[in-house]
């Protein structure tokens, strides 16, 4: 081969140009073959990716860019019986910011402060909250902008890239406090609710029924979620129009039995009081008005109530958040005297002619000879019959009657007026109260039943407690002398265009009014309550319509003869009760009024409040009659 040698000789040594060229050509061919093989490897790899695994990668590519965005359904509307909106969805303007699109967030917030849309405190809170948020997501800076604020921002909008005013649908209760205990409210979904609901259906929903009707009919009102497929880039920005859209199904609208005017009037009549008014239609159990006072502003809860405001509500001794109509347990007091009288007549224990002597007290005819006072010092006279006992609410008469009747008869018959039974109202939160019985006392109090207990029951006190709903329904039943109905608020539902109307349901246990004479006897006595000589006469003397009722005054603390409402603390004062119905001949309306801790009693406090609602009922009734006359000439 080649000689080895020094650098010089090597440099000038003979080079075999031909062989070198052949060698190089060979090597070049090998190299080229190598290149071709390697390029074929790339082709094979591409084939594998693009042909063999095409579908797999196509799916992953779509997963990358296509996201499914849920669309919240519109919440169903709530109407009163006349079609007046009680709960609607109002479009509110909220100031929203997409941090990613904002160059200098602090500067932007400062400029918003200048426009007095936000304050310094909010700015700090916002900057703090911003950490850890996804930057391209829209964050609400301020909800519920006023028209003026929207205008102020719009003028300067060009200075705020990344900040915009967005319209959102938010629940709005136009009558606010007046209806809060009848409707409940919606609020932001919390963790507990999140665990309970069908999360797939609530993906786009921010609010859920928290209490009351809004909660009870959540399923109907919410609707079904829709979605749209949208294309997004790597930073989550939406590109172009949706690829596919399935519109949401709006929640069903519902119509209630409530009458907006009656409710407003009842609410107004309760101003300054603690207590409740429930007005119903005795013919079907429709609730016409449901007031628990005081109320509170439901709209505050929709967008989130401030903790300071919430604390005030929570700690108020008036307990505005407490729904007294559904859950307030009150001694019915003398309002059950007509029922007791009717049972006495039915059982033959008394006749309308039967009288007692009322010297202002009654002596329990047991060994202890306990003396029990009448509410009226000096009593109601030597000959007190049932009519007088109801009209003027004579206690000793009913002590005597209850004593004769015994707890078992009282209890088993009062149940038939709905005492101790759920009224079945569509709210989901009501309490059943308590119609005490021998068994109940043994079980709950571990004590036998004493005759003294029965005497207390005779004037609707003692262990006996009932809700305003029950009181209204019990008097409705006696007023109509027929079946008692399950109470209800919702009468019909609108899905797509059709209103589906629901029939009323009769309550489970019913009193039987086969003897009309007995029924009319107590009904007449109740009419007398509102007339001259009756306990509610003062309140009703100017009424130009027929009505019937019964007053009640209930002690909430043990009182002696020196009880003076002016001097005792408010919480020790009596509760005033009134129940009634109208018109007397064919009742279309029954109500229960309870006022907590008032200076007076049923006659002086509850009856005047009831009168206002009666007036409104008749005003509306006459208005309807006039309109019908006009409509059908």
């Amino acid at each position: 081969m080649l000689k080895s040698g020094g650098k010089l000789s090597n440099k000038h040594s003979f080079k075999d140009h031909y062989n070198e060229r052949q060698l190089l050509i060979r090597r070049s061919i090998i190299a080229f073959a190598f290149v071709v093989i390697m390029l074929l490897a790339l082709v094979a790899r591409s084939w594998y990716l693009q042909i063999v695994r095409f579908e797999d990668y196509q799916t992953r590519s779509n997963d990358n860019r296509i996201s499914v965005e849920p669309i919240a359904p519109k919440r169903g509307l709530i109407y009163d019986r006349n079609g007046v909106l009680l709960a609607e969805n109002s479009s509110v303007y909220s100031l929203e910011i997409v941090p990613e699109k904002v160059k200098d967030i602090e500067l932007t917030l400062d400029q918003l402060i200048e426009l007095s849309l936000i304050d310094q405190k909010y700015k700090e809170k916002f900057l703090n909250d911003l950490r850890g948020q996804r930057r391209f997501k829209s964050i609400s800076i301020k909800t519920r902008l006023t028209e003026k604020e929207v205008a102020r921002f719009s003028v300067d909008a060009h200075r705020f890239p990344g900040v915009s005013v967005e319209a959102r649908l938010v629940r709005y209760y136009p009558f606010g406090e007046d209806f809060v205990h009848a409707l409940g409210y919606v609020g932001r979904i919390n963790d507990r609710e999140l665990a309970r609901i069908d999360q797939a259906n609530y993906k786009a929903t921010r609010h859920i029924g928290k209490v009351g009707l809004e909660k009870f009919y959540e399923d109907k009102l919410h609707g079904t979620i829709g979605f749209r497929q949208i294309e997004k880039d790597v930073q989550g920005r939406v590109i172009g129009k949706p690829l596919f859209e399935k519109p949401p199904v709006p929640g069903s609208n519902i119509r209630l039995s409530l009458d907006v005017n009656l409710q407003k009037k009842a609410s107004e009549a309760m101003a300054g009081h603690r207590g409740s008014i429930v007005a119903i239609d005795p013919r079907n159990g429709d609730v016409l008005a449901l007031v628990s006072a005081p109320g509170y502003e439901p709209n505050d809860f929709v967008t989130g109530i401030s903790s300071a405001k919430y604390k005030v509500l929570l700690e108020s001794e008036d307990q505005p958040l407490f729904n007294r109509a559904l859950r307030g347990l009150y001694s019915p007091g003398s309002t059950i005297k007509p029922h007791l009288g009717w049972i006495g007549l039915e059982k033959g224990l008394i006749t309308p002619q039967f009288t007692i002597e009322d010297p202002g007290y009654w002596i329990l005819p047991t060994e202890e000879k306990r003396v029990i006072r009448d509410w009226k010092v000096g009593g109601h006279g030597k000959k007190v019959n049932l009519d007088l006992a109801i009209a003027q609410s004579c206690d000793p008469y009913f002590y005597e009657l209850a004593y004769r009747m015994g707890i078992d008869t009282i209890s088993s018959n009062m149940v038939n007026f709905g005492f101790g039974q759920y009224t079945g109202i569509d709210m989901g939160e009501e309490l059943a109260g308590n119609m005490p019985s021998r068994e109940w006392k043994r079980k709950e109090r571990k004590l036998p039943w004493f005759p003294g207990d029965t005497v207390n029951i005779g004037i609707g006190q003692g262990f006996w407690v009932a809700t305003p709903l029950q009181l209204a329904n019990a008097i409705a039943q006696l007023g109509i002398g027929g079946n008692r109905y399950r109470l209800r608020l919702m009468t019909s539902v609108q899905t797509s265009d059709d209103w589906q109307i629901f029939e009323s349901e009769v309550a489970e246990k019913q009193a039987s009014f086969s003897n009309d004479k007995n029924l009319q006897a107590v009904r007449e006595s109740m009419r007398r309550v509102n007339r001259y000589g009756g306990s509610a006469f003062e309140a009703f003397k100017t009424a130009d319509y027929s009505s019937a009722g019964k007053t009640g005054t209930v002690q909430v603390s043990s009182q002696d003869e020196d009880y003076d409402a002016e001097k005792v603390a408010r919480r020790f004062r009596d509760n005033a009760v009134y129940v009634g119905f109208a018109p007397y001949e064919n009742p279309e309306f029954a109500l229960a009024v309870i006022l907590e801790n008032v200076k007076g009693g049923g006659s002086t406090e509850a009856a005047p409040v009831a009168r206002k609602v009666f007036d409104e009922f008749y005003r509306l009734k006459r208005l309807r009659a006039m309109q019908q006359q006009k409509a059908a000439p």
Binding site: L24, Q58, S61
Partner: protein
């Protein structure tokens, strides 16, 4: 013996191409490649006219470099090769001492009026130096000559590797190695080196490689392990290519690229844009263009008149191929991710000028031939 280049023997009236010393088949291949490349780039930049214009300016500069080097007879730079090489090594040292940091690596030398990467010089200087070295000697090379050759490759390779710029150092090392291969290094040595390398690999893995380097290899082997971190690039790139299918999603219609799921889509990962929008057919077309250019390079090498030009032409051609293969291999997931652009397609400057300069050398080798005496 006489080696007469018949292609060039006819000198009646030189054509423009001949006057410019341009090799038309190679030029055609390059122009088609760049045209296709610009099309893909326009899409990859999100239809940015500005970036397209800048790329066109770069291409023009690169063509100027090509024409300039094509115009220089190979004999001339053959003479200057050792000086160029020495200057290149000095500059690399200078980069390490006073260089600018760009993207965490020391690659740039700021000369006041302009910044450049000395490693670009070495892309040409290393194969030239080796070709120069072997041209003086008879082939195939002896072992002692191989030691010298390996040193000539090793010094600049290491200097670039510690910048660190793994991609470029691989390119430069392979350009030198190709010269040795073409110079006729015996298969015995090649096979023993391969065996050595394979047996050294585990040692390197366990004793030399740093944690992050191992991580890179592991990511390459299973990118799905860390889909949002180190595996993100390669996964998104494979999704882009794979979802392109046979015909692609259409120009400007690639969702992976247009919606920016694909990172570095206008630079190192531009091949994925092509794969997504033009599909398997598009890839075949691109590879065919590359094959044409590489084939022409080998043709020029084989037809070259002396050892220096032959070795140099072959090495330039093979280095170009390595460029292509490493980039596409990385983007399709058969090679680990090393930062190398797709030659003459990716958006970016210096490497393109160097590449076109090397094609200028190829053209010069083809066009500056003389009748050799027998």
């Amino acid at each position: 013996m006489a080696l007469i280049d018949h292609d060039n023997s006819d000198r009646r009236g030189k054509s423009l191409a001949q006057q410019l010393h341009v090799d038309l088949p190679l030029l055609a291949g390059l122009i088609v490649l760049m045209g296709f490349g610009l099309l893909v780039l326009y899409s990859a930049t999100g239809e940015s006219q500005a970036q397209l214009n800048r790329q066109i300016i770069r291409l023009a500069l690169a063509f100027a470099a090509m024409f300039f080097l094509a115009w220089i007879p190979p004999r001339v730079y053959q003479k200057w090769t050792p000086f160029l090489y020495a200057a290149g090594v000095l500059l690399l040292v200078a980069v390490i001492l006073v260089g600018d940091k760009g993207k965490g690596a020391q690659r740039w030398l700021d000369l006041g009026f302009f910044r450049f990467q000395p490693s670009e010089i070495m892309k040409l200087a290393v194969p030239m130096m080796l070709a120069w070295y072997f041209a003086e000697r008879s082939l195939p090379p002896r072992l002692s000559e191989l030691v010298v050759a390996v040193t000539l490759i090793g010094v600049p390779t290491l200097l670039i590797m510690i910048q660190p710029d793994l991609g470029t150092s691989i390119l430069i090392a392979s350009s030198g190695v190709f010269v040795i291969f073409l110079a006729g290094i015996s298969w015995k040595i090649i096979s023993s080196l391969v065996i050595l390398a394979v047996s050294y690999a585990p040692v390197h893995w366990f004793f030399v490689m740093q944690g992050y380097q191992k991580q890179r290899v592991l990511t390459f082997l299973d990118p799905e392990k860390d889909p949002l971190g180190s595996g993100y690039h390669i996964i998104q790139s494979q999704i882009a290519i794979g979802s392109g299918g046979l015909k692609g999603k259409g120009w400007l219609e690639g969702t992976q690229s247009q919606l920016e799921f694909l990172p570095e889509r206008n630079t190192d990962f531009i091949f994925a844009v092509l794969g997504e929008e033009f599909g398997f057919f598009g890839i075949l077309i691109l590879l065919a263009i590359y094959l044409w250019i590489i084939g022409r390079g080998f043709f020029i090498s084989v037809k070259a008149q002396d050892t220096f030009t032959r070795l140099l032409a072959g090495a330039i051609t093979l280095t170009f191929f390595v460029y292509v293969f490493v980039n596409i291999g990385m983007v399709t997931g058969i090679l680990p991710v090393v930062g190398l652009p797709l030659p003459l397609v990716s958006y970016g400057g210096t490497s393109m000028v160097t590449l076109m300069a090397s094609f200028g050398i190829l053209m010069g080798i083809q066009t500056h031939k003389k009748l050799l005496p027998g």
